[in-house]
């Protein structure tokens, strides 16, 4: 009660129009979210991309036993606050793991460091469209429904365009004739998406992206091994933490497929389930994982297992499973995966990432794994 009151007092201090909002980096979420928040009339600060410097900052200011994503999130907050932000947004899903504890800790740590700010928590446990809107209203005090319409449709359209671009990038990269084409195209569209400011244009983005990717010359008949990338949400989406594994794999001539896409997750989280026409990713995972897991246990464990089984049944050649060090749900997954791999006859490589992960050793392991997959492919082809 008391803390709530204190918070309320604080909120009054920061007036809506003075708010400068920041949030931790999570994949490409910054582009759509920026569009949304700006449409509602608030200012935004995007913390710099994760780097060694950010990691060091995070490690220095957090306790040892906490997982990597927290450390980086904390660094993001600090950098954003240094750049002038005064309102921090955080997504919280207390159904899952330590993530829910993050905010509490981050808040405490930052206050101890002397930062002044207001933290808005987006509780994403089960579908919560209304609460989400309220939270946005709370930050921006925007009452104009048109702004909401504009913000959300800009945001969602950009998000879908970016996800599409990402999927096409995964497909094109191993097949492209001129190395680097796909990558260039992808970055071009990221930039365009970021700059688009009208709903009409945003709605066209996705189509344009598809057309543009089609223009890249590729070797259609090339035999490309397909690999599923699965694991913990944050490391999957953050290229710094996963050492740009998608690009490395693409350049090794492997088609990557990532099942956890931001738009899927957001859709699942925001939309009440009655609006769902198709089976959500999660439902599919629960179905496929049934043989091995009877209940969800937090984090992305059940997705990891479900996707592995699904992949094995749908012609995927291998699985790369990545997780941060000491990640609890993924340790459970690591314990289950060997059996799945054996029973479903699909090779699995589990990689654990921590502050000290050396790039060289990491790449060697991936290369060896890809060799294994290619050899298997040849064996089965005969």
């Amino acid at each position: 009660m008391e803390t709530e009151q204190k918070l309320a007092e604080k909120e009054i201090k920061i007036r809506a129009k003075d708010r400068i909002i920041a949030w931790p980096r999570m994949g490409r979420i910054d582009i759509p979210l920026k569009a949304l928040v700006q449409s509602l009339g608030a200012k935004v600060v995007i913390p710099p991309a994760n780097s060694n410097e950010a990691l060091e900052l995070g490690v220095r200011n957090s306790i040892e036993g906490i997982c990597l994503p927290y450390k980086l999130n904390l660094a993001n907050y600090m950098m954003a606050l240094d750049k002038g932000a005064n309102t921090l947004m955080m997504f919280q899903a207390p159904g899952s793991c330590r993530l829910g504890n993050y905010t509490k800790m981050a808040q405490k740590t930052l206050k101890q460091m002397g930062y002044k700010f207001d933290m808005v928590i987006f509780d994403m446990y089960k579908s919560k469209m209304v609460q989400t809107l309220q939270a946005f209203w709370h930050v921006t005090h925007c009452l104009n429904p048109y702004c909401y319409y504009k913000g959300f449709s800009l945001g969602f359209n950009k998000l879908f365009a970016i996800d599409t671009a990402e999927r096409l990038l995964f497909y094109t990269r191993p097949r492209e004739l001129n190395k680097g084409d796909a990558e260039k195209c992808y970055h071009k569209w990221l930039k365009i998406a970021d700059e688009t400011n009208s709903v009409r244009k945003a709605k066209r983005l996705k189509k344009q992206v598809i057309e543009d990717f089609k223009k890249i010359p590729i070797d259609k008949d090339k035999k490309v091994p397909k690999v599923y990338l699965i694991g913990e949400f944050f490391v999957l989406l953050d290229p710094y933490t996963n050492q740009n594994i998608e690009k490395e794999l693409g350049e090794m001539g492997v088609e990557v497929q990532r099942q956890i896409m931001f738009s899927d997750w957001l859709e699942h989280v925001l939309k009440p389930s009655i609006f769902y026409k198709k089976e959500s990713h999660r439902e599919r995972c629960v179905k496929y994982a049934k043989k091995y897991m009877k209940r969800a246990i937090g984090g992305e464990c059940i997705e990891t297992i479900g996707d592995t089984v699904y992949a094995a049944k749908h012609g995927i050649d291998g699985i790369i499973h990545i997780s941060p060090f000491s990640c609890m749900p993924e340790i459970v997954a690591q314990n289950i995966l060997p059996k799945v791999s054996k029973n479903e006859n699909i090779p699995v490589l589990s990689l654990v990432l921590d502050e000290q992960t050396g790039k060289a050793g990491y790449i060697t392991r991936i290369e060896a794994f890809i060799d294994l997959i290619k050899r298997r492919q040849q064996k089965y082809a005969i």
């Binding site: 906490i66 159904g95 091995y292 609890m328």
Partner: protein, 359 residues
Amino acid sequence: MEKKTVLTKIGIPRAMSYYNNFLFYYGFFKSLGVEVVLSDKTTTATINEGTKYVVSDTCFPIKVYAGHVINLLNKGCDVIFVPSIQSTGYKVNNCSKIRGLPEIIRNIINRPFIMIEPTLDKTENIGLYDFCKNTACQLGITDTKEIKKAMDAGWEMYNSFMEMTKSGISYNEALNNALNGKFVKKSVDIVKPLSVVIMAHGYNLFDERISLNLIKKLEKMGVKVYTSLNISREQQQEALKKLGEIQYWANELELTGCAAHYLLNKKVDGIIALSAFGCGPDSLMVDEISHHCKEKGMPLIHLTIDEHTGEAGFITRIEAFVDMLMRKKRNTLIQNAKPKAKADIINIKKEKILTGSAK
């Protein structure tokens, strides 16, 4: 329809939730007419056996758990009770490894056995009654009256056990008394020069092999030890609230709640946190408490253990901590005993004591 035969024997691994809930389980199964088989106490062999089955990043208690399941199977017991305790309140979740205990066991042990795996998940409205009913159904018992009666029997045993420990009787003694239907209460509290509270999960602290007999070691040094069993859940909850914290983890009260209680009532001279190396939730809980300890000037030591922890180094650390507490206590006693005017002299004395023992 083929009717399931009623299973009359159930194996309970002496690990994880055994340490907090065994008496409930025991009373429950006994009332249902199911014989309970326990695995042997943890030994180094149990640990080595368990370690073989799980990936090395898994925390210590889970490795031990796997060892106990194997032990039961080797004993010829092929019905094993592996509960999944997901949450104990709305959105008060457990650690993923506790939630997924049956999932882990199912997939790492490739031997035929029947797993009784009920779920307790209050977030999803699966309460204790459903938990018990589910357990009984899996055993082939469906009579709801009988189940309710068994639950009462379970509670009765559990409560009498808790009453005993709350009066200050040691874990083992209370356990044996409760199993034999005896009820003993301790009336006088032995006063010792020093007292500490240990914040730890029951499955770490009361497993004598895992905790390397921490409680006994401390008692030998003349230290009075308090644990989470000495106070009720309500007291723990209340203390945590008073400290301005909220309960986030399902198994957090035995650490934070317990520490908060003794931190606030100032009954102890120090806090010992004992947790498994690499345990995610514990590192957060200990951090939370250590913040408050710093504010209040309460000494805290965090001991982490795993299968490689050596006994010698462990003892050294405890001794150093106890020595430090002793010195601190002596100093405050001296300070409080003398009138303020002589403060200077005492300060000199204090310094002497400090440098003297540092050598």
